[in-house]
């Protein structure tokens, strides 16, 4: 690969992409029946601050080639960041040697070419590339990071901020003619503060923003928001255990969706490690729960035109009015299970709103309960769906915050929890690839 960066858009040069194509040719020549090559390149610059001063600057540049090799009915994957035209043949030969030592697996195959993305030629189709990244320089990055700092502020004992901008360029080809590319820029800022109350107890708060486009990055309020979140936790109090309405803030509500999406993964289903194994086409969840995959939403984090096999994504319904409409099934899992192949995972899942509004509206709707603003540990059993999560947040009454709570635990099972969904707001965080608004649930067991 060359060291020349394609400054106009993306990072990979035509020579780099030709190298990926030649890797396929070498694989076939050396005895592979099929192969896929994934060439990825990324660059990132970061400026970290500590208490209002630059604490760290880093520069990263990565390139790697991953080969997916099918030979003699067998399959293996191999990656290297030492790619040169000279070393390619030896790398692939070694890969083939490993493949031939494995047991055959007739289910391994490339995806049907008709299912692959035909519309990802330039990598720019989704509008995730910001040319502004080319104009960034060390001075500008420092200025952004330092301007975002709120240090010093009374009550804060530490403030750590981190600004970064990056470019990712992925090029995928296979021996049946697949060729697709994804280019994405990302601008991010995150800040964590530690505040101390009058008794010397410490509380931390975090806030962040991220966007593929610099002009959409909103970092001005991050520091103050983090500080407010830290200070709001001062003087937590116990509360009586029992069943409560639970409102989960949009910043953390994705934590409850993730195990549901994991349970829809074909691999978990094939391994009998999913509590939703027999749910396809069935009404498992309530009428008011609809989750769609906005995979092709332009200009948004998480959007992609193709998955890890090159299969075209689509804007689709995952759960429609409580009915499970999609499993995430790769070509391999489809062959193993007989399920219809789809994509490897959700790209930009969105829980559809049931009402307009955000946290305060849902608090008022519920009246009394617990507002959850953070998860602290815990787990869910993928086989049974039973969960136990540590949570922190606030007790609220008559729609108003009363006092912070911590060391709380919610327990139950995920199907029951989601069937108690009272409302989903419309206050999505633009920066998140998981579009989950503030959610309200009835009758949640706060057991510690």
């Amino acid at each position: 690969m060359t060291d020349n960066i394609n400054k106009d858009c993306g990072l990979l040069s035509p020579e780099d992409m030709a190298l990926a194509q030649s890797a396929l040719e070498i694989a076939l020549k050396e005895g592979a029946s099929k192969a896929r090559a994934n060439l990825s390149c990324s660059v990132m610059d970061l400026v970290a601050t500590l208490n209002g001063q630059v604490d760290k600057v880093t520069h990263s540049f990565d390139r790697s080639l991953t080969m997916y090799i099918f030979a003699d009915g067998r399959y293996g994957t191999f990656s290297t960041n030492r790619v040169s035209a000279e070393g390619l043949t030896e790398f692939i030969r070694k890969g083939l040697e490993t493949v031939r030592a494995l047991s055959p697996d007739p289910c391994r195959n490339l995806p049907d070419i008709n299912r692959t993305a035909m519309d990802a030629g330039s990598g720019l189709e989704l509008g995730l590339w910001d040319p502004e990244r080319n104009d960034m320089d060390p001075g500008r990055r420092r200025a952004i990071a330092l301007e975002a700092s709120i240090w010093p502020k009374e009550g804060l004992i530490s403030e750590e901020g981190e600004y970064s901008d990056s470019v990712s360029d992925i090029y995928m080809v296979d021996t049946q003619g697949l060729e697709c590319r994804h280019i994405e820029t990302s601008f991010e800022y995150g800040v964590e503060v530690t505040a101390q109350d009058k008794d010397g107890n410490r509380y931390s708060g975090y806030w962040w923003d991220s966007s593929p486009k610099l002009e959409n990055l909103e970092i001005g309020d991050c520091g103050l928001t983090a500080m407010k979140r830290a200070v709001a936790q001062f003087a937590p109090q116990d509360f009586p255990l029992g069943r409560y309405n639970m409102v989960v803030e949009n910043e953390v509500a994705g934590r409850l969706l993730t195990p549901v999406l994991n349970a829809l993964n074909g691999s978990a289903i094939q391994q009998q490690n999913s509590f939703l194994a027999d749910s396809l086409g069935k009404k498992v969840f309530p009428d008011n729960l609809t989750v769609i995959d906005c995979a092709r939403e332009e200009g948004r984090s998480g959007s992609r035109l193709f998955d890890s096999e090159g299969v075209a994504t689509s804007n689709s319904t995952i759960i429609g009015h409580g009915v499970v409409e999609e499993f995430f099934v790769t070509t391999y899992i489809a062959a193993k299970t007989g399920l219809k192949p789809t994509v490897d995972d959700a790209s930009r899942p969105k829980v559809m709103p049931t009402m307009r509004g955000g946290t305060s509206d849902l608090l008022h709707m519920c009246g009394d309960g617990i507002l959850v603003t953070g998860f602290n540990g815990g787990n869910s059993n993928p086989t049974t769906g039973r969960f136990s999560f540590g949570v922190e947040g606030f007790l609220f009454k008559d729609g108003k915050i009363v006092h912070p709570v911590r060391e709380a635990v919610i327990t139950g099972d995920l199907v029951t929890l989601w069937n108690n969904l009272a409302a989903a707001g419309s206050d999505y965080r633009r920066c998140s690839s998981r579009q989950v608004p503030t959610l309200a649930f009835r009758d949640v067991d706060f057991s510690a």
Partner: protein
């Protein structure tokens, strides 16, 4: 494994003079210290699934990270090429931390006398009340190697490894007729490292790391349960033995009857007995991170103002150790070239040392403790744990359980999380037992243990005489992943919150 100096120089295609030049380039704009971290890693993985080893692969990762320090500030850049041009470019980028370029800057002096090593970063007054030790400045000594390798993974046959995995999976399957799925994996890697810094120190090391793991799904009636077991060491392929097959297979089905019977208990505050071994992860997460000096230097840790003070009862000592032979967390040298060592963090209840990298050691005026670790050449080193464990006490474990009227016994944790500033932690308990009137009774599962790290330490009322360092594949994530291990004897904590269900009826 420690090879010859020339082996490492040849692996990375560099000379001592070139490294001196690069270190000097990093300092050109006014930095205080620079170092180079070369890495060449070869990793392999194989998976047994659905009755056969049908998946495998390897990866190659190679490059150099260049760091420049200006006081406590860090500049870092890396290159995946060790060409002179690429490395010079990275050195310049890392040097940017020292401020704007000064074209008139005189070339930085690289110390070539080993006796100067580390001197600007060591003050001779105190080290948490302990004498300051000078760290080893000589060449790496193969005779002192903590992870010798008989059979290098890089030359181990794929077919042989696949046969081992098949045997393991089949042995597990034969153990219990309720087993419906077994996944077995073998991952191995060999990493060559070469480290050079502006003190003129040159260190090198080859670290093996291998993990064998099984994940098993059981079905009994309509109920499903799962169990996972892993064993991980820094060693060569000689670890693939009959004994290992037998040990993992036995552990994979151990306690599954109780797991099917287990229920969530009523929650509430109660005494908790932590079983010896894997419960040490709680020590790692809830206390160990708060001992890492970067969190203290930044004022974020709850232990920031506790050095030299009593933080838990007498009789409790907590160690972070890089010297255990073949242990997953052991190091001949850390990733800053500082010799791996045994660090007493808490001695007889007194906080005696944080875990330091060179930056925090300079800040506190102490010797680095060999805790500067990184995931790869792509990351700058940070203070990280190695093998963290509590030393044994004098109580009989059975007496500890017998002393509890109502409480819970836990020995299998997962998904721990801690808030460094507050010290609050939550751990998910895979399995355990209720303790009623001094006896283990109903099996329990799917609960959380919640508490505050420093408070939990202070609330320890008995320490067993059965210390065990767990052999599982623990990985610590602190922005970067590094292999660690953990251990603890049987310990009784007076009051922790147990999150069960129906706690309010």
């Amino acid at each position: 494994m420690i090879n010859t100096e020339n082996y490492y120089l040849d692996t990375f295609g560099v000379s001592r003079s070139l490294m001196e030049e690069l270190a000097a380039e990093g300092l050109r704009t006014g930095g205080d210290y620079s170092d180079l971290f070369f890495e060449s890693t070869w990793g392999s993985s194989l998976m047994f699934k659905d009755g056969e080893v049908t998946f495998g692969g390897f990866n190659v990762d190679y490059g150099v990270g260049i760091r420049v320090l200006k006081g406590e500030k860090t500049g870092y850049a890396y290159s995946e090429s060790t060409s002179r041009e690429a490395m010079m470019s990275a050195a310049k980028a890392a040097g940017a931390i020292a401020g704007s370029s000064r074209s008139d800057a005189s070339p930085a002096r690289i110390l070539t006398d080993a006796r100067d090593s580390g001197s600007p970063y060591v003050r001779s007054d105190s080290n948490g009340g302990r004498p300051v030790r000078k760290f080893f400045t000589g060449v790496p000594n193969p005779a002192a190697d903590r992870y010798p390798v008989l059979n290098d993974w890089r030359t181990c046959s794929t077919a042989g490894q696949a046969a081992f995995l098949s045997k393991l999976a089949n042995t597990v399957t034969a153990k219990d007729n309720r087993i419906v799925k077994v996944i077995a994996t073998l991952t191995s890697q060999m990493s060559d490292y070469l480290m050079f810094n502006s003190f003129g120190e040159l260190k090198y090391d080859t670290r093996p790391l291998a993990t064998v793991a099984v994940s098993v799904i059981f079905k009994q009636g309509d109920d499903m349960e799962s169990k996972s077991v892993s064993r991980s060491w820094r060693t060569g392929s000689e670890m693939l033995s009959e004994e290992l097959v037998s040990e993992i297979a036995t552990m994979a089905v151990k306690g599954i009857d109780e797991k099917f019977e287990a229920r969530r208990p009523k929650g509430g505050k109660m005494q908790v007995v932590m079983g010896a071994g894997a419960s040490g992860i709680l020590l790692h997460e809830a206390m160990g991170h708060a001992f890492e000096a970067d969190f203290n230097r930044k004022g974020q840790s709850i232990f920031s103002d506790k050095m030299g003070k009593r933080i838990c009862p007498k009789g409790i000592s907590i160690v972070d150790d890089a010297t255990l032979r073949g242990n997953r967390g052991s190091l001949n040298f850390d990733d800053e070239g500082v010799p791996g060592q045994r660090t007493m963090m808490v001695e007889d209840g007194i906080l005696t040392s944080y875990l330091h990298d060179r930056i925090s050691a300079r800040f506190y005026g102490v010797t680095p403790t060999g805790n500067g670790r990184r995931e790869s050449f792509r990351y700058e080193p940070l203070p990280r744990m190695r093998a963290t464990y509590m030393e044994g006490g004098d109580a009989d474990p059975q007496d500890i359980i017998a002393s509890v009227k109502k409480g819970i016994y836990v020995d299998d944790f997962t998904n721990g999380q801690v808030k460094i500033g507050e010290g609050d932690f939550t751990f998910y308990v895979n399995s355990g037992f209720l303790i009623e009137n001094g006896r283990k009774t109903m099996p329990v599962k799917d609960i959380n243990i919640i508490g505050n790290g420093p408070q939990a330490l202070a609330d320890i009322i008995a320490v067993g005489n059965d210390p065990v360092v767990d052999k599982g594949a623990w990985t610590c994530g602190k922005g970067q992943s590094v292999p660690v291990s953990c251990g603890i004897p049987t310990v009784l904590v007076n009051g922790l919150t147990v999150g069960g269900e129906q706690a309010y009826d």
